[in-house]
Amino acid sequence: MLALEVRDLVVEVDGRRVLDGLNLEVPKGELHVLFGPNGSGKTSLILTILGLPQYKVLRGQIILNGEDITFLPINERVKRGIGVLFQNPPQIKGVRLGDVLKKLAKDETPMEIARKVNFPAFYLDRELNCGFSGGEIRRCELTQLMAQKPSFLLLDEPDSGVDVENLELVGSIINELAKGRSGILITHLGYILRYVEAQRAHVILNGKIACSGRPIEILDHILREGYWWCDKCKEMRGD
C-alpha cells in the first residue's frame, strides 16, 4: 500500500521548469531520503506536494493515501495528513510559537512539546522564526510537527544549521514522528542519517529521479564521487 505516489509530475515556477516528469512511490510506514545538487528540484517537490500556488502543475498527479490531492488547497492537504518542516520558514511578527502550538496540539500542552526539543518556556513567547538561529528554526518547526502529528512528513533539511549536540535530538524526534508514519526527508550532507532510520533514498537531477537505492550506500557514493556518479547509476539501472 502506498502512502504517496507521484506520477509523471511536471511543474513550473514563474515559467521555469523545476520538475520534469518526476515519478516517486513511498510505501506506507517508510521514510525516504532525497539527495540532489542545489537547484535539482528537491525543495520544489516538497513544496509542490504541499500545494504552494506558485508551483504550477502542468502534468501528472500527486496521490496521497489513494486520493488525488494534486489541486487541493494547502490546508486541505494538511487535513489529509501532510506535515512540512520548512527549510526557510518566514518570520511572522506578533504570532507566537506558544499560541500556534496551543491551536494545533490535541493531547499535549505547548510546554510539554517545547520540553521535548529542549526549548525553555520563554521560547513559547517568541514570535515565529524571528531572531532564531538555524538550529532553533529546525526545533521550532519540529515542535509544530509534533503538535500536528501528520501522517506524511515532508522534511526539508532538518539537519541544516543544527549543532552536533542537537543533531541527535533532532534525529530522535524525527524517528518518533516517523514511527508508523511515512515521509520524505531532504538532506545535503546526510549527517542526520546517523540518527534517522530511512528505508530508501533517491537522487534528483534536473527535476526527475535519477537513481534510487539504500540511503547509506547512495550517500557514500555521493560523498566520495559527487553527483556525476548518478550517471553511472543510470547505467547500472540500465536506463
Binding site: I74, N75, V78, F86, K93, G94
Partner: protein, 415 residues
C-alpha cells in the same frame, strides 16, 4: 475667583473667540454648527441604572461599570457626569472629579487649564473653551502609587451631539498611576462630534500610563487635543487603540519633556476600516537634558480607509534620544497608509532615528500558517492579530490582559 484668574479667563475667552474659524492643520474640516449643543438630560441614578447596551459597550473599551479592580471611575454620558469617585483604598491620595467641579473647588485649578494645550490651536480647542462639557480632573497625591487602573468613560448617547470634554491630570511628585480611558458611542447615533482636550502635568519623578481605547462609529468625528508637560525624571506612556470604523479622527498629541531625564512614549494600534479617515501620531519635544522619546505605531488599513501615521521628534538638548517606528499593513488596494516620520535635531548632542515600513501581508506567511492546517481566513486573522500585538507596549500584566481582551472583542467582529 481671584482677579488674576478672572483676567486669564477673559484672555482665554478672547483668544478662543478669535480662533473659532481657524481650521486645524490636519484632518477634514468639520462644520461645528451642524451639531446639537443642548441635549435632553438623561435621568440616570448611577452606573447600575445605565440604559440598555451602554454597560456592554463600556466593557468593550476596557471600562468596568461594576468598578471592580478599578482604583476610581469617571463616567460621563453626553454632557452629564453620571459618576465620579475613587475606591476607599485610595481615598485621600487620589481625586477624580469633573473639571467644572474642580474649578469651583480650587482657585489654583485654573492655572492648569490651557497651558499644555493652547486654546487658539484651532477651532476645536476654541469651541471646547467656549462650550465646556465637563471632562475629568485626576489628581494623584505626591508619592502615591495607584497600583490598579483608574478608568474613565466618555459616552455619546444622543444623536448629532457635540461633546466637548476638558480633562486635566495632575501627577504630583513621585506619584504613579495608570488610567484606561474609553470613548464610546451608542449604536443609535448616526452623527456626532467629540472634542477632547486633555492636559497632563507630570511633576518630578511621576509616572503615568495612559491607555485610550476609541470605539466610535461611522459618522462620528473626533478631535482630541492633548498636551503633556513632564518635569525631571517623569515618565509618560500613552497607548492609543482605535479599532472600529469612525468618520474621522485627527489628533497629534504633544509631549514636552522639559525635565532632565524625563521620558515620553506614544504607542498606537490602529485598525482603519470602511471609510474611516484616521490622522494620528505623536510629537515629543526633548527639551530636558537626557530626556528620551519613542513613537511606535502599528497601523492596518482595509476597505477604503485612509490612515495618516505621524511622528515628530525634536531634540533640543544634549544627551537626548528618540526613536520613531511605524509599521503599516494594507489589507485592501482601496485603502492607504501614509507614514510621516519627522526628526528635527537642534543640537549635535541629540540622537534621533526612525524606521517606517508599509506593505501587505506576505503571502508566504499565509501559506506557512496554512501548512499548519489553518484556513486562509484563519491565517490572515492570526497575522493581523499578531500585528496588533500589545506586548510591544510593555504594559503591566493585568492592564495588558484587559487591553488584549478589548482588542479581541473588537477584532472578532471586524475580521
Amino acid at each position: 475667583m481671584t482677579k488674576m484668574n478672572e483676567a486669564r479667563e477673559e484672555e482665554i475667552r478672547e483668544r478662543a473667540l478669535k480662533a473659532l474659524d481657524k481650521k486645524a492643520d490636519y484632518g477634514p474640516d468639520i462644520d461645528l454648527s451642524s451639531f446639537v449643543r443642548s441635549p435632553e438630560r438623561l435621568e440616570v441614578k448611577g452606573l447600575d441604572d445605565l440604559p440598555s447596551g451602554v454597560r456592554e459597550q463600556a466593557v468593550m473599551v476596557g471600562v468596568r461599570p461594576d468598578m471592580k479592580e478599578r482604583a476610581g471611575t469617571y463616567f460621563q454620558l453626553d454632557h452629564s457626569v453620571l459618576f465620579s469617585g475613587v475606591s476607599k483604598y485610595f481615598d485621600g491620595g487620589v481625586e477624580f472629579i469633573s473639571t467644572i467641579e474642580a474649578k469651583k473647588r480650587y482657585d489654583w485649578f485654573s492655572k492648569y487649564l490651557w497651558r499644555a494645550v493652547q486654546v487658539d490651536t484651532d477651532k476645536y480647542t476654541a469651541f471646547a473653551a467656549l462650550e465646556w462639557d465637563h471632562g475629568y480632573f485626576l489628581r494623584v497625591a505626591a508619592g502615591k502609587k495607584v497600583t490598579v487602573p483608574l478608568q474613565s468613560c466618555l459616552y455619546i448617547y444622543r444623536d448629532k451631539l457635540d461633546q466637548n470634554v476638558h480633562n486635566v491630570i495632575l501627577m504630583e511628585p513621585s506619584s504613579e498611576a495608570q488610567i484606561i480611558s474609553g470613548c464610546v458611542v451608542h449604536p443609535n447615533v448616526s452623527r456626532a462630534l467629540h472634542v477632547g482636550i486633555t492636559e497632563i502635568y507630570l511633576m518630578k519623578g511621576a509616572k503615568l500610563t495612559f491607555t485610550m481605547i476609541h470605539n466610535w462609529a461611522e459618522g462620528i468625528d473626533v478631535r482630541p487635543r492633548t498636551g503633556i508637560i513632564l518635569e525631571d525624571g517623569a515618565t509618560f506612556i500613552s497607548n492609543y487603540i482605535n479599532l472600529k470604523p469612525v468618520g474621522s479622527v485627527q489628533t497629534y498629541p504633544a509631549a514636552y519633556c522639559n525635565g532632565e531625564n524625563s521620558t515620553a512614549v506614544f504607542n498606537s494600534l490602529i485598525y482603519g476600516d470602511k471609510g474611516s479617515v484616521i490622522d494620528v501620531g505623536g510629537k515629543i519635544i526633548l527639551e530636558g537634558k537626557g530626556s528620551k522619546g519613542e513613537v511606535k505605531s502599528r497601523v492596518i488599513a482595509t476597505m477604503n480607509a485612509k490612515v495618516y501615521s505621524r511622528g515628530l521628534l525634536v531634540g533640543k538638548r544634549e544627551k537626548t534620544r528618540g526613536h520613531l517606528e511605524c509599521r503599516g499593513l494594507l489589507l485592501s488596494d482601496q485603502a492607504f497608509i501614509h507614514a510621516i516620520p519627522e526628526l528635527r535635531g537642534e543640537t549635535s548632542g541629540t540622537e534621533l532615528s526612525h524606521e517606517a515600513a508599509v506593505g501587505k501581508i506576505a503571502e508566504e506567511a499565509i501559506y506557512y500558517l496554512m501548512a499548519r492546517g489553518f484556513s486562509e481566513e484563519e491565517a490572515v486573522s492570526m497575522i493581523v492579530r499578531g500585528f496588533l500585538d500589545t506586548r510591544i507596549f510593555g504594559l503591566p500584566e493585568p492592564l495588558q490582559r484587559e487591553v488584549d481582551h478589548a482588542i479581541d472583542i473588537v477584532l472578532s467582529s471586524s475580521l
